[in-house]
């Protein structure tokens, strides 16, 4: 596998439950994402988007099939190795920010910087996230947008190769969402990390290099977007 295909899924299947209650969440998913791409994953609620991210993030095992990330077949890794994989390669952004409430904004970012061999300078990051004035505040003392920026900073500070963001703007208003997406775009350009962003927002297809769409656990779209627009030019 060449370096260009940074992320690769092959016949990945995942189901939950047993017997009657069994739900096929992902059915034979096969796809590739190249290095440095912003990849957007669309799909209605319950279509398996989060599950997709969880599998890629090594948070849950696939039932069958293989997933490669950066030349590692993570579906073969032990739990211990998966921890090292996440530590080395990944940055997570959640829909509800999931900051640690009793750590300051800065400390929340430091939580992951601690894990990295070559972290980004925290102060620079805080500046570019627009959080510098807020760095000593606690999550409940800042707005949702600021919290999400902090969450993104937390994902990026360790300079990951792959950022997995699950509906990062899902809980935010239009303006803030746009701000966040612009931030992600900038970071993608600056650091060249690969991003998989789950969203409901169709408009985002314009900012991405690669569009995936899930429906009932099946990959129904897998297209490249050669006319990427900067976020600032997208309206929805």
């Amino acid at each position: 596998m060449d370096n260009e295909r940074f992320l690769k899924l092959e016949n990945v299947q995942k189901s939950y439950g047993e017997g009657e209650a069994r739900v096929e969440v992902l059915r034979k998913i096969t796809c590739e994402v190249s290095k440095g791409e912003i990849c957007v994953l669309f799909g209605p609620s319950g279509s398996g988007k989060s599950t997709f991210l969880n599998l890629v993030g090594g948070l849950e095992p696939a039932d069958s099939g293989s997933i490669w990330v950066n030349n590692n077949e993570i579906t073969r890794l032990s739990n211990r190795e998966l921890v090292e994989y996440r530590r080395r390669e990944l940055g997570f952004v959640f829909q509800f920010y999931n900051l640690v409430p009793d750590l300051t904004i800065r400390e929340n970012i430091e939580v992951t910087r601690f894990l990295s061999q070559n972290p980004l300078p925290v102060d620079d990051l805080l500046h570019s996230l627009g959080l510098w004035e807020h760095r000593f505040k606690f999550p409940n003392q800042v707005s949702g947008g600021q919290q999400q920026r902090c969450a993104i900073g937390r994902a990026l500070v360790k300079n990951p190769t792959l950022v997995l963001a699950d509906e990062p703007t899902g809980a935010l208003d239009y303006h803030t969402s746009k701000e966040i997406l612009a931030l992600m775009e900038r970071i993608n350009q600056e650091y060249g990390c690969t991003m998989v962003i789950v969203t409901h927002n169709d408009a985002l297809r314009h900012m991405s290099h690669h569009i995936l769409r899930l429906r009932d656990g099946k990959l129904v779209d897998d297209v490249r977007n050669d006319h990427v627009l900067p976020v600032s030019q997208i309206e929805w």
């Binding site: 090292e84 530590r87 829909q95």
Partner: protein, 987 residues
């Protein structure tokens, strides 16, 4: 009423918080089981002990007479308002032999048994001779006997023995024991109610249920084995059974007078309150109950801490749910009710189960603590609501009330605050800013610490009280042994003999003989008719008249008496030839000892006849000049010059005559024996060393060599009551009058009127150096103003020391009075004059006894405390992990290794635990001292509470080890935090 939708959450809540609920449950079950188990048994045993007085007609006092008391004496005692029961006994050798379980065993088995028996004997009683004190079967009218097994002996060759002794030696009914080298069959295993703790002697420091025991025999067997060798002890039940100690003291004084006035001599008397055979066991149970109640109190405090923390954690954990419910219109009351359900149910189940277990499972081992040492009648549980209340109801109510208060307080927040997880004031305030220069890890740990501060503070106190419990289990015995050593060190000589009378040691053989004769004459009731004072009056008179008895010719009528004794009353004593007396005069003077039996002194026939006549007719007068002339003539013949006037002589003649009349009044044999004794006395009196006039003080019957005598020191003791610091009771303090510059009391400098006291006096009693205080002598009701100049010796020593001169001055005694000997060599003292023999070893053996009587309880406490400690630390630290679960889950998602998470969270907890353990050391030492001081306030003596560092290290070590167990549980919990928690939408 339909089931509230909330109720459906209960099973899930229970499952999700299994650890927490099991913890509370376990804590309650353990605490309630142990304490209720113990207290039920202890209270029941205390009841049994208290009820024994009525049930078994236990004596109010006993007295011992030198010889069997006369009927008149006993009647006189009964006339005082009491019933008197002879309770004679004798100690005879006992051996268990080859205590065959049964006779029909195969030879091999029997041999094996024998070997086992021998092995056991070797192990337990190596070199020790066993003694059994034989008593007649008692019929229950006094000091009744409770049979645990079998029955009272009915026939020859049957015996019943004390239950504890039998248990200690594995004796069962049908076994054979050898008493005075005869085989007896064990037909009964019983408790003599005056031997609840089998003390051999009243002043022994420890009871003995391994080499000493008491037995019941049929009257015939008893008579056969004991014969004349009994100890004449009489048990007395005062008609007024409610008479208090003051009343009894007066009664006892009257009793002694009544006995002594009626031809008997009381040699010993013991009130029931001083009789350790009656009081020790019950006191022990009572003391232990106090300790367990204290323990329960500490446990309750600990549980309160735990409940506070857990309620807090529950609400925090549930804050989102509570917020949603409040926002949806639920009333606070409904929520409170909802969150009370599980703690109440768990509490009820735990307390009920604990109480049930305590009354069933624990009952047996708890009783064993006492029944293995003390002889109580068979156990009957009695119902004590107090036990249920303090061990079960209080902890349960505590759980409910604390949970309720916690809920009410916490539910004061607004729905929004709950929704945003800001229910606690701290969360609302926001966190603290931490200096940037601290590394991330340090700051993170600090955050964990700060976030959990309130729980950690609780943890600190929880550990304090948990450690206090642990320390009670660990430290009591070492403290006792430290004190035993100090007390042993405080015994300045190898032997401190307290005397009942000023026993003379440096006596000549003649003095000893004189005393022996005098003693026999004065104490044997046979001679009760003789007034020995007449004799000493006569001697005094003679001395007044210039006659030195040492110079007197031999007064020996033994030969004549033996050969020519007729049937006439006692007159033979004076028969014999008169002539020889003059001849032997010189010889007697030169070598009184050598001629002891050779010289003779007899009255001339005329006087003899006259005296005899006087006994019959009394037709002469002592002031008759003719009689005077006769006496003078006789004296002359004996080489004695009688000075003084006629009046003196008249008096002398009267006195001697009176005595003669009394002698005649005795039976033939008795008169003869008395005369022999008198002759011994006179013979001894030939020796210059003997001063018949001062023979009132006893003379030791065994000669003691000069070397030994040289190191013997006299001392005087008295007991005074001094007010204690705590409470309004008084402490019995011993006052010593010692020789200034004593070779033994080197630590007490009493020269130049100095008065010093052991350090213990100042801590136990309300006494300050240099300040005067009032002390009371209970026996005389006199008070003394005393001032102690200085402290000396150690904290176990409460004695006051002064020079013997100061002592005699203080107590108004004559200069040469004393009542004790200190010696580094064992002295062969006549037992009847020794009140006690105090040795350092006896003091040390007290520690052994404590070890025996408390060792098991202490082990039990430690065993109980360790699991409680584990649960306590577990519950108090679990919240830290629980409330951080989500953060831990994030960290896992981000790629933190488990060990890194451990380091961030567990280090903080570990630090807090270690910090608490270490910082608590000095606090614990003080708390322990305080607790023990109060627990021991009512006991006599002073405890030096010194906790050796090694002990504290052990306490901290155990504390840390229990924490390690907890830490393992927590690390497991950290590993079990699921990744999905981070992915779930936050509630």
């Amino acid at each position: 009423m339909h089931i509230s939708p909330l109720a459906r959450r209960l099973p899930r809540d229970f499952k999700n918080n299994l650890g927490k609920y099991l913890g509370i449950f376990g804590l309650l079950v353990m605490a309630v089981t142990f304490t209720s188990g113990f207290l039920v048994s202890a209270y029941s045993i205390a009841d049994i002990a208290a009820g024994m007085r009525e049930a078994y007609n236990i004596e109010d006092l006993y007295f011992v007479t030198m010889y069997e008391a006369t009927d008149e004496a006993l009647d006189a005692v009964e006339d005082l308002g009491a019933r008197v029961y002879p309770n004679f006994s004798r100690d005879v050798p006992l051996s268990l032999g080859a205590a065959n379980k049964s006779t029909d065993k195969s030879t091999a088995e029997a041999a094996a048994d024998a070997a086992e028996g021998a092995g056991k004997g070797a192990a337990e009683g190596a070199g020790k001779d066993m003694l059994v004190r034989l008593y007649k079967n008692r019929d229950g009218s006094f000091d009744g006997v409770a049979y645990a097994q079998g029955r009272a002996p009915r026939a020859a060759g049957e015996v019943a023995l004390d239950r504890v002794f039998c248990a200690n030696h594995n004796l069962g009914l049908g076994d054979t024991v050898r008493i005075a080298n005869e085989d007896f069959e064990l037909v009964g295993i019983c408790t003599l109610s005056d031997y609840q703790a089998t003390y051999k002697n009243a002043d022994d420091f420890m009871f003995n249920a391994t080499t000493f025991t008491v037995a019941q025999l049929t009257n015939e067997e008893w008579e056969r084995l004991v014969g004349d060798g009994a100890t004449y002890r009489y048990s007395v039940l005062i008609d007024d059974r409610t008479m208090d100690l003051t009343g009894r003291t007066t009664f006892e004084e009257d009793l002694v007078d009544a006995v002594n006035d009626n031809g008997s001599t009381v040699s010993d008397l013991m009130d029931r309150e001083s009789n350790i055979g009656l009081t020790f066991a019950a006191d022990d149970v009572e003391g232990d109950s106090t300790m367990w109640e204290t323990l329960m109190l500490v446990l309750i405090v600990i549980m309160a801490f735990v409940f506070v923390v857990l309620t807090d954690a529950t609400i925090e954990q549930e804050s989102a749910v509570i917020g949603t419910l409040l926002a949806s219109g639920y009333r606070k009351r409904e929520l409170v009710a909802h969150y009370m359900v599980l703690p109440t149910l768990i509490g009820l189940a735990g307390c009920t189960l604990g109480f049930a277990l305590g009354n069933t499972l624990m009952a047996e081992p708890m009783q064993g603590l006492y029944y293995n040492s003390y002889s109580f009648p068979p156990y009957v549980a009695t119902w004590h609501p107090r036990v249920l209340v303090i061990t079960t109801v209080v902890p349960f109510c505590l759980l409910v009330v604390i949970t309720l208060l916690g809920l009410l307080r916490k539910l004061g927040a607004t729905p929004l605050q709950f929704l945003r997880g800001e229910a606690s004031a701290k969360a609302r305030r926001g966190g603290m800013r931490l200096p940037e220069r601290l590394g991330f890890v340090a700051r993170f740990r600090l955050r964990v610490f700060l976030r959990n501060l309130s729980h950690f503070v609780t943890l600190f106190f929880g550990i304090m009280f948990g450690s206090l419990l642990l320390l009670m289990g660990l430290a009591l015995l070492p403290v006792v042994s430290i004190n035993a050593d100090l007390m042993a060190d405080s015994v300045p000589a190898e032997h401190l003999y307290a005397l009942k009378a000023p026993l003379k040691l440096d006596a000549t053989q003649s003095e000893r003989d004189a005393w022996a004769a005098m003693f026999e004459l004065s104490t044997n009731p046979v001679y009760a008719g003789l007034d020995l004072d007449l004799l000493s009056d006569a001697v005094d008179k003679l001395e007044e008249m210039g006659v030195d008895l040492g110079d007197m010719p031999g007064l020996d009528g033994a030969d004549a008496d033996g050969s020519g004794k007729g049937s006439d009353k006692g007159d033979g004593a004076a028969k014999g030839a008169a002539g020889s007396s003059g001849a032997s005069d010189g010889a007697a003077k030169d070598a009184g000892d050598a001629t002891s039996n050779a010289s003779e002194f007899t009255l001339p026939p005329q006087i003899e006849a006259m005296v005899e006549d006087s006994a019959k007719h009394r037709n002469w007068r002592a002031d008759d000049p003719a009689i005077h002339a006769l006496w003078k003539q006789v004296a002359q013949a004996a080489g004695i010059h009688l000075k003084g006037n006629d009046g003196d002589l008249t008096e002398l003649i009267r006195t001697l005559d009176k005595f003669h009349v009394q002698l005649h009044a005795l039976g033939d044999d008795e008169a003869k024996a008395a005369w022999e004794l008198l002759q011994d006395l006179m013979e001894a009196a030939e020796d210059e060393s003997v001063d018949l006039g001062s023979l009132k003080d006893p003379v030791n019957q065994t000669a003691i060599d000069d070397e030994t005598l040289k190191q013997v020191e006299k001392f005087s003791v008295a007991t005074l009551q001094v007010p204690r610091r705590i409470g309004d009771s008084t402490e019995a303090v011993t006052v010593y009058g010692i020789e200034p510059g004593s070779r033994y009391w080197t630590y007490a400098d009493v020269r130049n009127g100095h008065i010093v006291a052991g350090e213990g006096l100042f801590s136990k009693c309300n006494v300050e150096p240099g300040e005067s205080f009032t002390a009371l002598d209970r026996s005389t009701n006199k008070t003394y103003e005393l001032a102690v100049d200085d402290a000396c010796n150690n904290g176990c020593d409460l004695n006051i020391y002064m020079s013997v001169d100061d002592f005699n001055k203080l107590f108004n005694k004559s200069a040469d009075e004393f009542n004790g000997y200190a010696s580094n060599v064992a002295l062969p003292l006549d037992e009847r004059y020794v009140a006690s023999d105090l040795t350092p070893d006896k003091m040390r053996s007290m520690a052994d006894q404590m070890q025996d009587s408390m060792g098991q309880i202490m082990t039990l406490i430690v065993c109980m405390v360790i699991p409680i400690y584990v649960v306590l630390i577990y519950l108090l630290t679990k919240t830290v992990i629980d409330r951080s679960a989500r953060a831990i889950s994030y960290m896992k998602v981000f790629g933190y290794r488990d060990r890194e998470i451990d380091r961030l969270y567990m280090r903080t907890i570990t630090f807090t635990v270690v910090f608490s353990l270490v910082v608590n050391i000095p606090i614990l030492v003080e708390l322990f001292k305080l607790l023990l001081t109060y627990m021991m306030a009512d006991y006599s003596g002073n405890f030096v509470i010194e906790l050796p560092m090694s002990l504290m290290a052990r306490e901290v070590g155990i504390g840390f080890l229990t924490y390690l167990v907890v830490a393992c549980l927590h690390m497991r919990a950290i590993r079990k935090v699921s990744l999905s928690l981070a992915l779930k939408v936050q509630e």
